[in-house]
């Protein structure tokens, strides 16, 4: 298992290098001039002299390859430069906001797991009866509802009309409920239907039939044979939901004034704040790759066949 993890970690290096080249080139070869952005965001009139000074200050007048390697060497030391907008080190601010986004994403993932599991199991167990119909309707609504729309509806109902929950900012647990639900709804519904489908497939497999014939208790069969085997594809799906949740968090952070990294990145994109955009894209790549790695480890832990396959291929 350790070899497996090390191998996967090493495979991140070329991937991140490729991403870094693409990010650098897209932002530098695009129609935008970083020097112009820098002057605009610093409230300096963009005279020819000021533009030349800004290019020299930002090192934009050197060959692109030199610029890339210098940027990369700083990036490897987690130095992504100074934000054009805030004039503060990018890494410092991103690391300040990142825990808030992870907190929101974490609660959203928990909501996804806690609600999708029982609802999916009930829908499968009572197929064709009201729990199944209920889950179908819920899934239909959930996947068709844009998260920003749900966010505003919840704000109007629970924040403005009923006054139960705060509509903005970060604080206690009450602050996270609406943003997390708006982010989690779609993943919850997708996961719920996935669990239902997997469980039904497992329920009709032969080993379940034989277990029943052996007289094994129904609750034991559901828990240890059906659910456990159904969870394997769900874990893969959860890994992908991390991406959905982090993407959804960007929207929720803007609407709920949540001080997260997504909101910081949206402002940077609007302002063409190049250092922040570069750092954000690379950081999100690392998070995605790490989540995929985490999913694979869980996958191996859940399914002995994968562990054994890995061990035999290494041995």
């Amino acid at each position: 298992m350790l070899k497996f993890i090390v191998k996967r970690l090493l495979s991140m290096i070329p991937l991140l290098l490729i991403v870094s080249v693409v990010v650098f080139l897209i932002l530098h070869l695009g129609p935008n001039d970083p020097a112009m952005s820098y002057l605009r965001l610093s409230n300096i009139p963009p005279t020819d002299e000021a533009l030349a000074n800004a290019r020299a200050e930002l090192g934009l007048n050197r060959p692109l390859v030199v610029q890339y390697f210098e940027w990369l060497s700083h990036a490897l030391r987690l130095d992504f430069g100074i934000s054009f907008t805030t004039k503060a080190p990018v890494t410092k601010h991103l690391l300040h906001y990142l825990p808030n986004t992870l907190y929101l994403a974490g609660v959203s993932m928990l909501i996804t797991i806690v609600f999708s599991l029982p609802l999916g199991i009930m829908a499968a167990k009572y197929k064709g009866r009201w729990p199944d119909h209920f889950s179908r309707v819920l899934a239909y609504i959930g996947v068709s509802t844009p998260s920003f729309w749900l966010a505003f509806i919840m704000i109007i109902v629970f924040g403005v009309k009923l006054g139960w929950l705060p509509t903005m900012g970060m604080g206690g647990l009450r602050h996270v409920i609406m943003p997390a639900v708006s982010v989690a709804l779609m993943s919850t519904c997708i996961n719920m239907r996935l669990i239902r489908g997997n469980m039904l497939e497992q329920m009709h497999s032969r080993h379940i039939l034989y277990a029943r014939l052996r007289g094994v208790k129904e609750s034991y069969i559901t828990r240890s044979h059906v659910l456990k085997n159904s969870l394997i594809p769900v874990v893969t799906a959860l890994g992908m939901h991390v991406g959905e949740v982090l993407g959804g968090a960007v929207v929720a952070e803007v609407i709920f004034a949540w001080p997260g990294v997504g909101r910081y990145a949206v402002a940077a994109i609007n302002n063409r704040d190049f250092p922040v955009m570069q750092c954000f894209i690379l950081m999100m790549t690392v998070i995605f790759v790490l989540c995929n790695l985490f999913t694979d480890i869980l996958y191996a832990a859940l399914d002995p066949r994968i562990r054994l396959e890995e061990a035999s291929s290494n041995g």
């Binding site: 605009r40 928990l110 403005v160 970060m170």
Partner: protein
């Protein structure tokens, strides 16, 4: 395994990154306002990311802009100007201390002026920078400023929110150069910045010893809310008490709030002009006839009704008549399609048989109209104007681009028409008119094709150094009349500030004198 999964995820996300505590404040003595970003480091001598309204809260100028547009006492209780307009002596208040206990005196003023002038290239957008010859402390409470040549808006420039604001001498860095940063944001203003939580809020506490009288509320809490829709909702759910400014909420949100019982929604007087600059150097707008026709085809009333929901007054002149020197009774260009058609016909721009748009010598009457594409209000204005121009056979090609491309076009004069809002008080008219001399500004590029541009520029130089008020009135009249007659600007509406609050919670809420001054100190909390 399910439990394992839950525990792992919970530990990873919740254990590691718990929620921050919400800010603790008393609603009975705190005004809760919101802004799109944190207020920044609040360096009084520098620009972004320090926010101007917060610089106004913490730092005082020598002289202050008054509500009538005039200049009144600030840290200087009075001043004298020599007859030649070159020497200004400011008599400073003797009862002022910085909020860190440091004394305010002429030496502190000299120290602030010195660091500002050491970084003069950063501030050369202001006319006064080029004019300052020397300055000195004549006595502990007398500060003398000598100019190289007369410059009438000297006091106006000194009243601007930055850079001529007074920082405590103890907050200067060791080398005295504040352009690289300051030790702490300490001024003599009505408020002290006491806490900043990045991305969440900034907390100000009143200056108990403020020379202008103790502010009424004990604190001002500025929450960070970037989105205007979220801000309106935050007001409705009582997360914030007060909305103030331009662009803080959308037109429709303001319209909804002003119809909400128990909510007071006020509109300020003109705070600038939403205008379009027409390029007199390139394309069809080189011709006066085309520029005039564009004035007549624009139905400003429908833009005001349809886009601003009647919240903004229609603009007939580039500067509002309430701006000093600008009540010139100029003849407005009314909405008149027939007149526009007549002017274009006479100029040779005719609609060929079976075609929709006018042509002259085989060239279509098509004009590039540039604006920042992600600004919803600007986009709507451009779309309405496109439809209105089409009715007279003028084709407007809308170029909604991101900000950098927009400013590149503005700088290079690569536009036919460009949305170019004015800066509002305290920058009008003098700073705006001065900027007409700078090639990086839309005004300069729009005017450069005028046959009398050199004459206009000469008059701008002349008016800035005119000591006699009557002479200034004459010169401003000539400059602004020429620009109006040459139809270089198409003013649409005067921008305004919105102010929204609940009168059962806040009282004595008014508008500040300038565009950046929010009079928190006068507000009382019920």
């Amino acid at each position: 395994m399910k439990q394992l999964l839950c525990v792992l995820l919970s530990a990873m996300f919740l254990g590691v990154c718990g929620p921050a505590a919400a800010v603790d404040y008393s609603p009975h003595d705190t005004v809760v306002y919101s802004h799109m970003t944190n207020v920044g480091p609040l360096n009084p001598h520098m620009y972004s990311p320090s926010q101007m309204f917060a610089q106004e809260m913490v730092y005082d100028p020598l002289v202050k802009l008054q509500e009538d547009g005039g200049i009144g006492p600030g840290l200087a209780e009075r001043w004298s100007i020599s007859e030649d307009g070159l020497t200004y002596v400011f008599f400073l208040r003797k009862d002022v201390t910085f909020t860190d206990g440091q004394a305010f005196n002429a030496d502190a003023v000299v120290k602030n002026f010195r660091t500002i002038m050491n970084n003069e290239s950063r501030h050369n957008w202001m006319g006064i920078i080029d004019k300052i010859d020397r300055f000195e402390a004549v006595s502990p409470f007398e500060f003398k400023l000598v100019l190289k040549s007369p410059y009438y808006p000297c006091l106006e420039d000194l009243s601007l929110p930055r850079p001529f604001r007074m920082l405590s001498p103890a907050s200067f860095p060791e080398d005295g150069d504040t352009s690289k940063g300051i030790k702490a944001p300490v001024g003599t203003g009505p408020w002290k910045l006491v806490k900043t939580e990045l991305g969440e809020y900034d907390l100000f506490e009143r200056n108990e010893n403020y020379w202008g009288g103790k502010p009424n509320p004990a604190n001002v809490l500025v929450k960070v809310i970037p989105d205007p829709v979220s801000r309106a909702i935050a007001f409705e759910s009582k997360e914030i008490d007060f909305i103030y400014g331009e662009g803080q909420i959308n037109f429709d949100a303001f319209d909804r709030l002003r119809k909400t019982p128990g909510v007071e929604a006020k509109i300020s007087g003109p705070m600038g002009t939403m205008a379009v600059a027409l390029n007199s150097a390139v394309g069809p707008t080189k011709e006066l006839a085309v520029r005039q026709a564009l004035q007549y085809v624009t139905d400003k009333g429908s833009i005001v009704r349809g886009i601003t929901l009647n919240t903004h007054p229609q603009a007939d002149t580039y500067f509002s008549p309430i701006v000093p020197y600008c009540d010139l009774k100029l003849e407005p260009y009314p909405f008149d399609l027939n007149r526009a058609a007549d002017i274009l016909d006479k100029a040779g721009w005719k609609i060929p048989q079976g075609k929709k748009f006018r042509e002259k010598d085989g060239q279509p009457l098509a004009i590039d109209f540039c604006f920042v594409g992600n600004n919803a209000a600007h986009k709507s204005i451009a779309e309405v104007m496109q439809a209105q121009a089409a009715a007279a056979g003028i084709k407007l090609n809308l170029l909604g681009e991101e900000a950098d491309s927009f400013y590149s076009r503005q700088k290079g004069g690569d536009f036919g028409m460009i949305l170019s809002p004015t800066w509002g008080p305290p920058f009008e008219p003098h700073a705006m008119v001065s900027s007409m001399l700078l090639p990086s500004h839309a005004d300069y590029m729009a005017q450069i094709g005028l046959p009398m541009k050199a004459e206009i520029d000469a008059k701008i130089h002349e008016v800035m150094s005119a000591v006699d008020k009557k002479e200034r009135e004459r010169l401003y009249r000539e400059i602004l009349t020429t620009l109006h007659e040459q139809a270089v600007y198409l003013p649409i509406f005067y921008s305004v500030f919105f102010e929204v609050y609940r009168p059962d919670h806040l009282k004595n809420v008014g508008f500040g004198a300038g565009g950046t001054d929010i009079p928190f100190e006068k507000i009382t909390i019920e």
